[in-house]
């Protein structure tokens, strides 16, 4: 018993089954990421004006990752074209290149970007204690600027292990933080221009009283709705990248050579289907990158 139109297209639709199947699946993925991005819109534009973070992510690294993903999209198209041209060797080269690019993308994200964020710390100061830290918050300057921005958070890294322990220890009353540039010089207009390259951390260290802190956390999902939605969307995207890599890996195994020899068109169709999924993953990143890194 054979299912018709698994390889040859049906004349009136012009499509073979798996192609419709994958496009339908992609339609549902559009709705999935659409739901997540509409959550982003809801959270960002529902936030108190002027409190949405900017410039916390590494733009050059994000740009590099974007380029790598684009390159992998190009190479997967060439892999498919190679199969259509019945050149299996070339297919293997381009498929390997695709997997390599995808793996590098994940490696940079999980091995560098996220861990770097996990070491970055932010402390939101209580409203009635803001005046004490005015030198690091610059709210008078911001009020003059008239942009409606208000800074309540001091960000940076723990200068020593003891400071980190002081933060965790309920008995300790204060801790020190090595300041980011924007808290070291909050009245410097240069700190408010959009920057491509990350501002270097300053050498200033400030002591913060724990009783003045409303909420403090490393830059992990629980830190703020910004990081919550950033990690969730890029994390789910990363899971999709991983799933794609696993399927690509399967199509590098000897079983793929056997399928190719038995029915090369079927093999080409399978790569086209996975390729379509991969392009969609690229598409999501094309929007996620500017939304989180640039806006």
């Amino acid at each position: 018993m054979e299912i018709p139109y698994t390889v040859k297209p049906r004349p009136d639709t012009g499509l073979w089954n798996a192609k419709i199947g994958i496009w339908l699946f992609l339609a549902s993925e559009v709705m999935l990421f659409g739901g997540l991005f509409s959550a982003y819109v809801f959270l960002r534009f529902g936030a108190v004006p002027g409190t949405w973070p900017h410039g916390l992510l590494n733009i050059p690294v994000g740009t590099l990752n974007t380029a790598i993903l684009i390159a992998s999209s190009v190479s997967v198209v060439f892999a498919w074209a190679a199969l259509k041209m019945r050149n299996f060797r070339r297919y293997q080269v381009f498929m390997g290149l695709t997997i390599l690019c995808g793996a590098i993308f994940l490696g940079i994200k999980l091995g560098y970007e996220w861990p770097a964020k996990f070491h970055h710390f932010g402390a939101y100061i209580n409203d009635d204690a803001l005046y004490k830290y005015e030198a690091y918050l610059g709210n008078e300057f911001l009020a003059e600027e008239g942009e409606g921005r208000r800074r309540t958070e001091i960000t940076g890294t723990f200068p020593t292990h003891e400071d980190h322990e002081a933060w965790e220890n309920p008995e300790a009353k204060e801790f020190r933080l090595r300041l980011d540039a924007v808290n070291a010089e909050p009245t410097n207009p240069d700190n408010y221009l959009p920057h491509i390259f990350p501002r270097p951390q300053s050498d200033k260290v400030v002591t913060i009283q724990k009783e003045d802190v409303r909420w403090g956390s490393f830059f992990v999902p629980r830190h703020s709705s910004y990081f919550a939605v950033y990690y969730t969307i890029t994390g789910l995207h990363g899971i999709h990248v991983l799933a794609g890599l696993i399927v690509f890996g399967y199509f590098m195994l000897p079983v793929s050579k056997r399928l190719y020899e038995r029915d090369p068109e079927h093999m080409a169709n399978r790569i086209e289907v996975v390729g379509l999924f991969w392009h969609f993953v690229d598409l999501v990143w094309i929007f996620a990158f500017p939304i989180f890194y640039l806006f």
Binding site: I20, A39, F42, W215
Partner: protein, 601 residues
């Protein structure tokens, strides 16, 4: 099997032949045959439906006799769940668990897998003349994901703290903080398991939808054009689209609520959240309304998912038993397509009381009233289709005919709810419960019964007892109305949903309608007794039912052109379709029905 003629020429290099006999596990457990998968879905879903029904019967004890020890079950549950039914008396938390799980199980584990997974899987490929679904292995995966999700839901009853208790709607902040703290496991608690199960069930549903749509688009037999498709298939197709496009935002929301519960994020936790007198240790900045938008974005189309396959079944049964075509097939097709599309834009009529402004409110009131039009067209067409028919009142026809006024009551009681001003009074009252139960209980479930009695002969070669069927029908019809009509009365008097004592605390306001609680509960328990007749009939008829041929109802559609039960691959000869799906009583023809694939005019 080796010489079985193909419906299409086989492409070169296809995989295996079906010479070999499949072992027990491949044939009955990990089957890729849509008919076996349909039966698996059907039996599993009916079991969940029964379980959800039992949960409701337990709730109705508490509503009729609040604070009293439940007879029989009370002792057993009291010793098995001493925290939730101490001394056989239901705690408020346990009542809430029953309520949340009754809704969840009936909708996601009962009706949708039954009407879409079971009937859709079994009947649709047969009706389009296909050998199987487009992706048989994916079909098997869909079923097993459903099974795992279902087991996770059931397992949640047995973890410390019990099953989810924040409503089937799981609104934060309550759902966010529920089942967390001392006495609860950080991961194996009711609400988190509910979320995990939903993620799995939604994934199962998505794979199923992809399969359905691809199958209907690609595997229709030669000659089966879109306007010759049985309405059942149109209904299933639109249902599949709704599931495909509406479920993912809830998937996203489920992931976000899980992050809130496990990773401490604040997707739905607002600023200034106080829990048990203390500021919650979260960043804030989230919005409970965000959950509501994403939840109802699914849950409104979901109600059309609950009703459309039912309408499809009713259409098949009515046209067959009136011996004439549906009165306005094209109107029904266009209506169901428009209904599906419009249903995606009405969701916030479930949120009229959330403080929305006039523009947003006006938008949703308008779209909600608009969406009622296609469903009125559909039900009117079904009603008019009865006119001038030679009606055979067999059991399926009784259920299908009763569907019309019952769904009518359900739908019409929904109309006032479309208006913000009226909804202010009726929201979250028993009026709502009465409204939607009229649609799903004497609506969808009646259609499901009609479908079971109707297609049972194709699956087994025997009919169910018509006498027992009629007793089942009349008993169910009367009891359903005894249960759900008073809800409309109670709701208008102001009785709220989810009051675990049935309203006793507010007796001074609602005293005149309080007595209905006991009436409705007895209606529910008697309804349960009538279902025992159905269960007996179903099981007994498999072995002892009257034997019949391949087309006992003299139907025109393709599923009746197969041997009984249909073999692997379904059709023993190439199928070509020559006419529309409901060519009954065609003037000048020999028989009063002209099967679709019959070449003789």
């Amino acid at each position: 099997m080796a010489t079985q003629p193909q419906t299409q020429p086989a492409p070169a290099g296809h995989e295996h032949d079906d010479h070999h006999e499949l072992g027990f596990w491949s044939k009955y457990v990990f089957s890729t045959d849509h008919k076996m998968i349909g039966i698996q879905y059907g039996l599993t879903a009916l079991s969940f439906l029964l379980f959800g029904f039992i949960l409701m019967m337990m709730m109705r004890w508490q509503l009729a006799y609040p604070g009293q020890t439940m007879p029989v079950l009370g002792k057993i549950l009291g010793s098995a769940f001493p925290n939730q039914m101490p001394g056989g008396v239901m705690t408020p938390d346990f009542y809430n668990s029953l309520g949340a799980m009754h809704g969840t199980i009936m909708i996601f584990l009962g009706i949708v897998p039954l009407s879409f997974g079971a009937f859709g899987n079994y009947v649709m490929p047969l009706q389009i003349g296909a050998p199987d679904m487009a992706f048989p292995k994916l079909n098997m995966l869909s079923y097993w994901l459903y099974f795992v999700g279902g087991v996770s839901m059931l397992a949640s009853f047995f973890v410390p703290g019990g099953a989810a208790k924040s409503g089937w709607t799981s609104y934060p902040p309550l759902a966010n903080i529920s089942d967390i703290g001392p006495g609860f496991h950080p991961f194996f608690n009711g609400q988190t398991l509910w979320l995990l199960a939903m993620v799995i069930l939604i994934f199962s549903s998505l794979l199923g939808s992809v399969n359905f749509i691809t199958t209907v688009v690609q595997l229709r037999a030669p000659g089966l054009t879109w306007m010759r498709l049985p309405f059942f298939c149109w209904a299933q197709l639109i249902t599949a689209y709704l599931l495909l496009l509406a479920f993912p935002p809830l998937q996203a929301a489920g992931v976000m609520q899980t992050m809130d519960r496990l990773a401490g994020t604040s997707f739905f936790n607002p600023d200034g959240l106080i829990v048990a007198g203390q500021a919650a240790a979260v960043s804030g900045g989230g919005s409970p309304l965000l959950w509501q938008h994403l939840f109802w974005f699914l849950a409104h189309p979901e109600v059309y998912v609950l009703i459309l396959p039912a309408i499809g079944i009713v259409t098949e049964v009515i046209t067959n038993n009136t011996r004439k075509p549906i009165w306005a097939y094209k109107a029904m097709v266009f209506s169901v397509v428009v209904l599906g599309f419009l249903s995606m834009f009405v969701w916030a009529h479930h949120m009229f009381l959330t403080g929305m402004g006039t523009k947003v409110s006006a938008f949703f009131q308008t779209t909600t009233v608009m969406v009622s039009v296609p469903s009125v067209i559909i039900i009117t067409v079904l009603l008019i289709s009865l006119w001038g028919g030679s009606i055979r009142f067999n059991t399926p026809m009784l259920f299908a005919t009763a569907f019309i006024p019952m769904f009518g009551i359900g739908g019409l009681t929904g109309l006032p709810l479309a208006f913000n001003a009226l909804d202010l009074h009726l929201h979250d009252t028993y009026y709502i419960i009465g409204h939607f139960h009229y649609i799903v209980a004497p609506g969808t479930i009646f259609a499901v019964f009609a479908g079971i009695y109707y297609w049972f002969p194709k699956m087994t070669g025997r009919t169910m007892s018509d006498k027992l069927g009629k007793v089942h029908f009349w008993g169910s019809l009367v009891c359903m109305n005894v249960i759900f009509f008073p809800m409309l009365i109670q709701g208008m008097a102001g009785v709220h949903r989810r009051w675990y004592d049935g309203g006793v605390t507010y007796e001074q306001i609602i005293a005149p309608v309080l007595h209905w609680n006991a009436v409705m509960s007895w209606g529910a328990w008697v309804l349960g007794l009538f279902q025992l007749i159905f269960i007996f009939n179903l099981v007994w008829s498999i072995r002892k039912g009257r034997k019949v041929g391949d087309n006992p109802w003299d139907s025109t559609t393709l599923e009746w052109q197969t041997p009984t039960p249909p073999p692997h691959g379904n059709f023993t000869r190439p199928i070509k379709v020559y006419r529309g799906p409901y060519e009954y009583s065609v003037p000048g023809s020999k028989k009063d029905f002209s099967p679709q694939a019959d070449p003789e005019v």
